[in-house]
């Protein structure tokens, strides 16, 4: 029976569940037992998934909330602060310079205030310019822009009004700035509270624009909740212009796809040769040759492999991770097991017909073996995608990091700067999303494949 299912290109189905026992009335003990099972299962599943849920919830917290004790279960909705400044005096005394002063003061407000807001959660800062009660300009700086550009524009941690004036163009081009002397539409002011009072106190003491402060208000600003993701996404561009988190994923994808292809081709061909081409004695020797290596743990070859890869000049290169993972004993074992179970007549027939081994493999065997290829692809994917240590050893420069290394560096690697949990968590969520989605879609086949390979092993 197994052969026929294989022939049809399907893996053996797991036996069906026992049909619901309906013809016997369930005793109360059975009902109780079943209820207990339900309760325990629900609880346990919740616990199993709880870390993921916690991860998701913490990813939306800003870098201050993430370290709060006791922690909140739901992330806070970020705030948007609106600072209104009055330029009527400037308009009266120095009308020629009005526009310039407006630009300067708005830039000062939006860039200097966040420096003092480290302890407050904020999604964006808006500064508005009013002349005679009419709004004529506004500048908005979302916090994701602030975290990305604050260091790129100014080197100092203690920003001053003069520095902002000096780099005015950069300050305004990275924010959303609108100026229209004929008047802009009104915006909701927001409400005053403790934090707005703190901001208001800054004006005149630390921050000294030429205009006068009218009010500071706070609103909820939901879109800023994804700021961690924006920051994590742009994180690599600190070192390499234009590189985003996608770069790390790309490295991971390159390695994983290469691994899968190489396993398919090299291990597949080798297993096919062992199973179908070579004489039994020859094949047995080589099978043992491959499979004994399964008894040797990775640690025994760690140091020499590292040196070897160095000598091959593959340190800090993706190939340095791809090539050493070509030997796959378990893969060969699975392939061989599958090929062995295929009916021999097909191959003999093909040979009699004069087909070369090559075309036999590609035209006959592979289509029949779609399932084992899928399973091997899946297993190789899992092993390669989550691989941490070897890539960490070999890939040193951030340009070739995989996302596993990136996440590790974001949270533990950094010494003086401290673990950036928000960053690391956003990276982790972004990295987990594709695989979770794939699993959700292909769950049936994935589980089937895992079971088959597990039982085989």
């Amino acid at each position: 029976m197994q052969d026929s299912t294989l022939l049809e290109g399907r893996l053996p189905e797991p036996p069906q569940r026992a049909p619901a026992v309906t013809h016997i009335r369930m005793s109360w003990q059975d009902k109780a037992y079943r209820a207990v099972c339900y309760v325990l299962s629900i609880l346990w599943v919740s616990f199993t998934l709880f870390p993921l849920v916690w991860l998701l919830s913490s990813t939306f917290k800003d870098s201050v909330d993430v370290m709060k004790m006791p922690p909140d279960f739901l992330p806070r909705v970020p705030s948007a602060y609106t600072i209104k400044l009055d330029f009527s005096d400037v308009a009266a005394s120095d009308p020629g310079n009005l526009e310039q002063v407006i630009r300067e003061d708005l830039a000062i407000a939006i860039w200097r205030v966040p420096d003092y807001l480290a302890a407050i959660h904020y999604g964006s800062i808006t500064a508005e310019a009013y002349v005679q009660g009419k709004k004529v300009a506004e500048a908005t700086l979302p916090s994701s822009q602030y975290s990305q550009y604050r260091g790129r524009i100014w080197v100092t941690q203690r920003l001053s009004d003069n520095l902002v004036r000096r780099d005015l163009d950069k300050a305004l081009s990275t924010a959303r700035f609108r100026l229209d002397m004929s008047g802009l539409g009104p915006t909701p002011a927001g409400l005053p509270n403790e934090e707005t009072a703190r901001i208001a106190k800054l004006f005149g003491t630390e921050v000294k624009p030429s205009s006068t402060l009218i009010s500071v208000g706070e609103r909820r600003y939901f879109p800023a909740i994804i700021n961690n993701f924006i920051s994590a996404w742009n994180w690599p561009s600190r070192l390499y212009k234009g590189m985003t988190f996608a770069g790390y994923m790309r490295n991971g994808i390159i390695i994983t796809v290469a691994d899968i292809l190489l396993q398919w081709i090299i291990s597949g061909l080798a297993a096919y040769a062992l199973s179908r081409i070579l004489t039994p004695r020859f094949s047995r020797i080589w099978t043992v040759f491959f499979l004994i290596t399964m008894m040797v743990p990775g640690v025994a070859t760690l140091i020499p492999s590292y040196e070897l890869v160095g000598k091959m000049g593959l340190h800090d290169k993706l190939l340095g991770v791809i090539i050493p993972s070509i030997p796959g004993a378990f893969t060969i074992y699975l392939f061989k097991g599958f090929f062995d179970a295929l009916p021999g007549e097909i191959f003999d027939a093909a040979r009699i017909d004069g087909a070369s081994e090559f075309s036999t493999f590609f035209r006959i065997t592979v289509p029949m073996s779609r399932n084992v290829f899928t399973v091997i692809g899946l297993l190789t994917f899992l092993g390669s995608w989550n691989n941490f240590f070897w890539p960490y050893l070999i890939l040193r420069s951030p340009k070739v990091w995989t996302f596993t290394i990136a996440i590790y560096m974001a949270m533990g690697g950094s010494g003086a700067a401290g673990a950036q949990y928000s960053n690391a968590m956003a990276c982790a969520v972004m990295a987990a999303l594709p695989t979770v989605l794939v699993f959700a879609i292909f769950s049936r086949s994935v589980q089937q494949g895992l079971v088959w390979s597990g039982l085989k092993g």
């Binding site: 036996p15 069906q16 026992a18 003990q29 059975d30 099972c37 339900y38 346990w44 616990f47 998934l49 709880f50 870390p51 993921l52 916690w54 991860l55 913490s58 993430v66 370290m67 004790m69 922690p71 090299i266 061909l269 080798a270 040769a273 062992l274 004489t279 290596t293 008894m295 743990p297 640690v299 025994a300 070859t301 760690l302 140091i303 020499p304 492999s305 070897l308 090539i323 030997p327 040979r351 009699i352 081994e357 090559f358 493999f361 899992l382 941490f388 240590f389 996302f403 590790y408 533990g412 968590m425 982790a428 969520v429 990295a431 979770v436 994935v446 589980q447 895992l450 079971v451 597990g454």
Partner: protein, 308 residues
């Protein structure tokens, strides 16, 4: 079609005269198919293994390899070192905690799962979901949870009016803390056990139902014994890997306060890449190799006995 009895005489002649050619004609592609894998294995499995054994006999000098020959000196250093002993004990303890806390969990989970009518597939999917999430994401969440200052674990302790713990920074607690998450179970094992449960023959179960066995009795006396072989296999499998804990521990604690969560493989790493003692590190690796081999051979032997 079977083996053709009527072999065309041409082929017979060919096979008699140029028997090597035909064999070669069949074997040559075989060798070509086999070759890349063999080369890869030689370069990345056999050569490093032998080189590692070789290196362990020297005081390896990375500037001018190989350095001075010391024979088995590295090994005696290793075995007499109390760091090695402590680290060995650590590794075993970690394994023991992992087994005590986490080995039975998937078994129970699948047994529970088996009783569900609705939601069976959903729950099984949810149990297996963590397999698809990159492991480092989990490690990071747990590191965050165990953080003494703002982690969830201490928040829970506070709610329960228990004293805050240092968890991963506490030398007395760290090994236990590292393995506590095993209580959550899930993963591949659940899949395997559920498949094994489904393999239990229907007739036996129906017979039991006829005899009036309750669900609990069915589970306890029929299903459980039937899946015990698989449980046993997985146990033995985990045993062979018992000495190899590294990745997750290293990411969580880097070796822990002092040596309290350093594992054997970490010791190899430290000796080689931190202390630059490649020879000694290789010796450690060889010791680990030998121990693991013993366990593996024991596994093969017991399985052979079973087959007999």
């Amino acid at each position: 079609m079977g083996m053709p009895s009527a072999v065309p005489s041409e082929a017979l002649v060919r096979s008699q005269k140029l028997i090597n050619w035909q064999r070669l004609g069949r074997t040559l592609p075989g060798i070509v198919f086999l070759a890349p894998a063999v080369i890869a294995f030689i370069i990345f499995r056999y050569y490093p293994l032998l080189k590692g054994l070789y290196m362990s006999l020297f005081r390896w000098d990375t500037q001018n390899p190989p350095g001075a020959f010391v024979g088995l000196n590295n090994f005696s250093l290793t075995l007499s070192s109390d760091v090695f002993r402590e680290v060995f004990v650590n590794t075993l303890l970690l394994y023991a905690f992992g087994m005590l806390l986490g080995f039975w969990v998937p078994v129970v989970q699948s047994l529970l799962l088996n009783e569900l009518r609705r939601g069976y597939y959903l729950f099984r999917f949810l149990y297996v979901l963590p397999v698809m999430v990159p492991g480092i994401a989990f490690l990071m969440v747990w590191k965050y949870i165990w953080h003494p200052d703002f982690g969830l674990a201490n928040a829970v302790m506070l709610i329960l009016h228990l004293p805050k713990q240092l968890w991963l920074s506490d030398p007395k607690l760290v090994k236990l803390t590292l393995r506590l998450p095993s209580l959550l179970g899930g993963g591949m094992s659940v899949l395997i056990y559920t498949a094994a449960i489904q393999n239990v023959s229907l007739e036996v179960i129906e017979a039991a139902i006829m005899d009036g066995a309750s669900a609990w009795q069915r589970t306890r006396f029929i299903i459980l014994p039937n899946i015990l072989p698989i449980v046993g296999i997985l146990f033995v499998l985990s045993l062979t890997g018992s000495l190899l804990a590294f990745d997750d521990v290293w990411i969580m604690t880097g070796g822990g306060p002092g040596y309290s969560s350093t594992t054997l493989v970490m010791g190899v790493y430290q000796r080689a890449f931190v202390q630059n003692q490649y020879g000694l590190g290789s010796a450690w690796a060889v010791v680990i190799l030998i121990c693991t081999l013993i366990l593996t051979l024991a596994r093969l032997w017991t399985m052979r006995e079973e087959r007999m």
